[in-house]
């Protein structure tokens, strides 16, 4: 077995084990940053040792033991003798039973997604500690320099200490949940409709987010919105194979070849939506219900737009936002005609300055009403507002067709 192959095998083990190892260590040393450093040390030790010795039979336990030895070494070197011995006793006691994957991973998730941290910090910490992604991998995914992500992680770790954020599963999950789900969905969306760069989609990020969501659903199965978000992501990810043409250009929902939608992900999404429904639908669940309407329609013209418009109305009531209103306007347009929809859109102009989808939707409605020249101008305006190259091309292409 070549060294490169062993290294890839070690990295695979790391992705599977790292969250559990970091979580278990954090529980022992009561410090997530230190726990991550210790776990990284164990990874380095594995990278040194395993190419010679081979990958051990139980690599997770090996990493855990190595990291714990490092924790004990650290404590021994600590100056304060009394606390050292107390810590040592605690470490030895804690290192006995093989920890179950569960609580400590959930606690890690709620710590890296703590609302006291900035959103950017939460995203970077979560991908690194729970997704098992290296700093360069995160930097590549977000198209920023490695040093930027490294700095974010350093700052986030410092904030964990200064804000005295405790490593624990909060007693009441519900109020802290929003900040966790926000991070997961943000990662998903950055992959689903990249805000920058040449590629419209970066599916690997969607899949990282999906894995985090599925993990969360298995660890916190009584929270409706977790299943709602997982359902939403599964249903949206199901469309990935149909969302771009061979050259990577976006294909809009109505024009997608629905036979390319992933049936397995749709089935998973619908099952997760059922679980969310039984617990009472929240904002993510309602968005999943809307995505499910699209998934159920064999052809675009079979879509139940009246029902989608009603779902958006409910969503707008529990989570008022101009973006929801814009989507609602689209549904109203499909269900009841462009004139009514245009009146809705006009009310949103002040609420969504600089949002490229507003002129894009308006253009669509104007074109349906035969007002082609106005529609073309809206599309050209929309093209100036997006920073994604593929999306800009698509908008300009639509403008060009209208101008003919």
């Amino acid at each position: 077995v070549s060294t490169a192959a062993t290294q890839r095998a070690i990295e695979a083990v790391w992705r599977i084990e790292s969250a559990r190892v970091i979580g278990a260590l954090a529980r022992m040393v009561r410090d997530v940053s230190l726990a991550e450093d210790l776990a990284q040390d164990a990874l380095v030790a594995a990278l040194e040792k395993w190419p010679q010795s081979g990958v051990p039979d139980n690599p997770g336990a090996w990493l855990m033991t190595a990291a714990k030895h490092r924790a004990i070494d650290l404590m021994r070197r600590a100056k304060r003798l009394e606390s050292k011995q107390a810590d040592l006793a605690r470490l030895m006691a804690a290192s006995q039973p093989e920890p179950e994957l569960g609580d400590e991973v959930l606690a890690l998730m709620f710590t890296t997604c703590h609302p006291a941290l900035s959103t950017e910090a939460r995203v970077a910490l979560t991908l690194r500690m729970l997704g098992g992604l290296s700093t360069p991998a995160i930097a590549r995914a977000f198209l920023v320099p490695e040093s930027t992500i490294a700095q974010r992680i350093v700052r986030a770790k410092r904030a964990l200490a200064t804000e005295r954020i405790r490593f624990e599963v909060p007693e009441d999950l519900e109020p802290r949940l929003a900040s966790v789900l926000e991070v997961v969905y943000l990662i998903f969306n950055e992959g689903y409709a990249a805000s920058a760069g040449d590629d419209w989609m970066r599916p690997a990020l969607c899949e990282d987010a999906l894995r985090l969501g599925r993990t969360l659903a298995s660890l916190a199965p009584r929270l409706s919105e977790v299943h709602g978000l997982v359902a939403l992501m599964e249903l949206q990810a199901a469309r990935t194979p149909a969302r771009t043409d061979r050259d990577g250009n976006p294909i809009l929902l109505a024009d997608q070849d629905r036979r390319r939608w992933d049936r397995l992900l749709i089935a998973r999404g619908l099952a997760a939506l059922e679980r969310a429904k039984q617990l009472g639908l929240g904002a993510y669940g309602l968005q999943a219900a809307i995505a499910a309407e699209h998934a159920r329609a064999p052809r675009a013209e079979d879509t139940d737009w009246v029902r989608i418009a009603a779902l958006y109305e409910t969503l707008a009531r529990i989570q008022p936002s101009p973006v929801v209103e814009l989507n609602r306007a689209v549904a109203i347009g499909m269900a009841f005609g462009p004139e009514l929809a245009l009146r809705h859109v006009e009310q949103l102009t002040d609420a969504l300055p600089g949002y490229h989808l507003l002129p894009s939707v308006r253009a669509d409605l104007l074109a349906k009403l035969g007002r082609r020249e106005e529609a073309r101008a809206e599309l050209e305006h929309a093209a100036t507002l997006t920073s994604n190259a593929r999306e800009r091309d698509l908008l300009l292409e639509r403008a060009r067709i209208l101008g003919r």
């Binding site: 990295e11 695979a12 599977i16 690997a204 999906l210 993990t215």
Partner: protein
């Protein structure tokens, strides 16, 4: 992220086949499945009943067949970052005796030439 299919081949005596899996076997398998779910890596998976029927151009033949011990006993569909990660999961399947698992990567559309993709996806 590539998808993989993992096939379980339980190599057991005819007697054991009749009896089905033991409580311990089921417990070990449940624990394994649970780990897959908690890692967000499991897309689907099931156990298969031993009754087998073969359908070919020559007609329909009911089993069992002589090579029944190499019958697929169950499957998992996994999503993994790379083949190494899938292999790591394959190595963790609880196995006993001569039972084994087989790991296969699932074809994605990109694996095929544009010509074949066009045939597969155009009406």
């Amino acid at each position: 992220m590539p998808r993989f299919m993992l096939f379980m081949y339980p190599v057991v005596s005819d007697e054991q086949y009749e009896q089905g899996p033991s409580l311990e076997d089921v417990q070990a398998m449940s624990k394994y499945n649970d780990e897959l779910i908690k890692a967000g890596a499991l897309l689907a998976g099931d156990g298969l009943a031993p009754d087998v029927t073969r359908v070919s151009v020559n007609g329909v033949v009911d089993g069992p067949f002589s090579e029944a011990k190499e019958l697929v006993g169950g499957y998992w569909i996994l999503q993994a970052k790379d083949p190494e990660e899938a292999l790591e999961w394959a190595k963790r399947v609880p196995l006993s005796g001569e039972s084994f698992v087989e790991l296969r990567r699932i074809y994605e559309a990109e694996d095929f030439s544009e010509e074949i993709q066009a045939v597969a996806y155009k009406p």
